[in-house]
Amino acid sequence: MQTNTVVPLSSSRRFVLTRLHSLAGLIPLGLFLVQHLMGNALAIFGSEKYDEHVQFMLSLPFLLFLEIGFIALPLLFHAIYGIYLSFISKPNAHVYQYKRNISFLLQRVTGIITFIFVIYHVWAVRISPVISGTEVNHQLVGEHLANPFMMAFYIAGVLSTTYHFANGISTALITWGITVGPASQKTVRNICFGIFVALAALGIGSLISFVS
């Protein structure tokens, strides 16, 4: 009846991938997002401050390595695995209209919007300027955002990225077994909503400062 050794039943690949997915979202991507929003917020204090920051970022040693290893690879893994996870779930928030279930749906929707936004964003202000040899500065971003459709797209991108990140913190704390009971989970959920509001306000404020 009882066996003395634990025989692995099947691969734990999915388990490891979901934990790496959570970790990638929190550590490299989450930290980068906060740094990026803070850096861009310098635009609120004038174009010189912003241009100075851009020059500083571009002067970082091993920049390409940092961009690929710390941002691009975790981002692609997090996005592609996340899209796979979205498509094997069957959201039912129209029937079971509970707060967490609506967040479950929003997490998947904002994930996909964020991915589309980020692809465009990286192309428009990072890859394309490098190819054409244009300098990225306050003026270039300001011209870019002068188009109201582009502004609306960027606001949507900022809202979905910050929601995805803030809600992701609250579920990551469950995935890592830190918030166990319903009361602590609720407290964290409220704090994370505050984080979403603060980061979204910071991001949208910076965007508007480019055109005003």
Partner: protein, 249 residues
């Protein structure tokens, strides 16, 4: 038809391989009627809203007091127990559908086998005998008993699997019921001897990695079992177990 009559709209199926069809029934209302007694009215007089005599509606029930788990079905779209659902608190027509997550055998009857095989996979029992006497088990504190009691009330009804967006034909997920029971048997001092065997299932392809934290399970559970607490605790155990067994390799 008297004004107090109630309308039922039922999603039916004659046999496992047949197609679904909808049928409406009007039945006389009685005070304190629940969905089971409404279905019993159809059994008494299997005549549909068009006045045709039809095969009476098949469904499962045993205890009639929300402890057996057999009468789970979708009532006005949401999964719940037919026995504890009072008819006068529902909007009409009352729409009854079989659960979608399980294979439908006939009308509202589904096959809940996947949950019982899940219990076998997670070794949902306490090993009290072997090839030698195992002696008396250790005492369990009353706090632990109180906590374990909630999980012991699981009646394998399937509501949590039905409401979970991640339990579906495209996903290997074993479901919240098995996760709750894993926590239950792991917290028992004798059951804990097989903790690692159970965690091996939890970190596998069909395990806890499939949970997406929609937390519908805990909302729909008729027994109010703290399934999400069990899941968060198991996350911690599974993370430690996976890391330790990888480091030991």
């Amino acid at each position: 038809m008297a004004a107090a009559d109630i309308k039922l709209r039922i999603k039916r199926k004659d046999a496992e391989d047949d197609a679904f069809y909808w049928e409406e029934f009007n039945i006389p209302f009685r005070k304190n009627m629940n969905v089971i007694s409404a279905l019993m009215e159809i059994q008494k007089n299997p005549v549909n809203a068009q006045g045709e005599k039809v095969r009476s509606v098949a469904w499962e029930y045993n205890c009639l007091e929300e402890v057996c788990g057999a009468c789970s079905m979708k009532i006005n779209g949401k999964v719940r127990q037919a026995c504890s659902t009072l008819v006068d608190r529902l909007e009409q027509p009352i729409v009854l559908e079989p659960m979608e997550t399980f294979p439908v055998e006939k009308d509202l009857v589904v096959n809940r086998d996947r949950m019982f095989s899940a219990l076998k996979k997670i070794k949902g029992w306490i090993p009290i005998d072997g090839t030698y006497p195992m002696g008396a088990g250790p005492l369990i504190s009353s706090d632990d008993q109180q906590e374990a009691y909630k999980y012991s009330t699981c009646m394998t009804c399937g509501c949590c699997l039905e409401a979970c967006p991640n339990v579906n034909s495209g996903s290997p997920f074993i479901g919240p019921q098995a996760l709750g029971q894993t926590k239950y048997f792991n917290m028992h001092p004798t059951g804990a001897q097989q903790k690692n065997h159970r965690l091996e299932v939890i970190v596998s392809e069909e395990g806890i990695a499939n949970c997406g934290n929609s937390q519908n399970c805990v909302q729909v559970c008729p027994k109010e079992i703290p399934l999400t607490t069990a899941i968060a605790e198991l996350n911690k155990d599974a993370n430690r177990y996976a890391l330790r067994s990888w480091l030991k390799r």
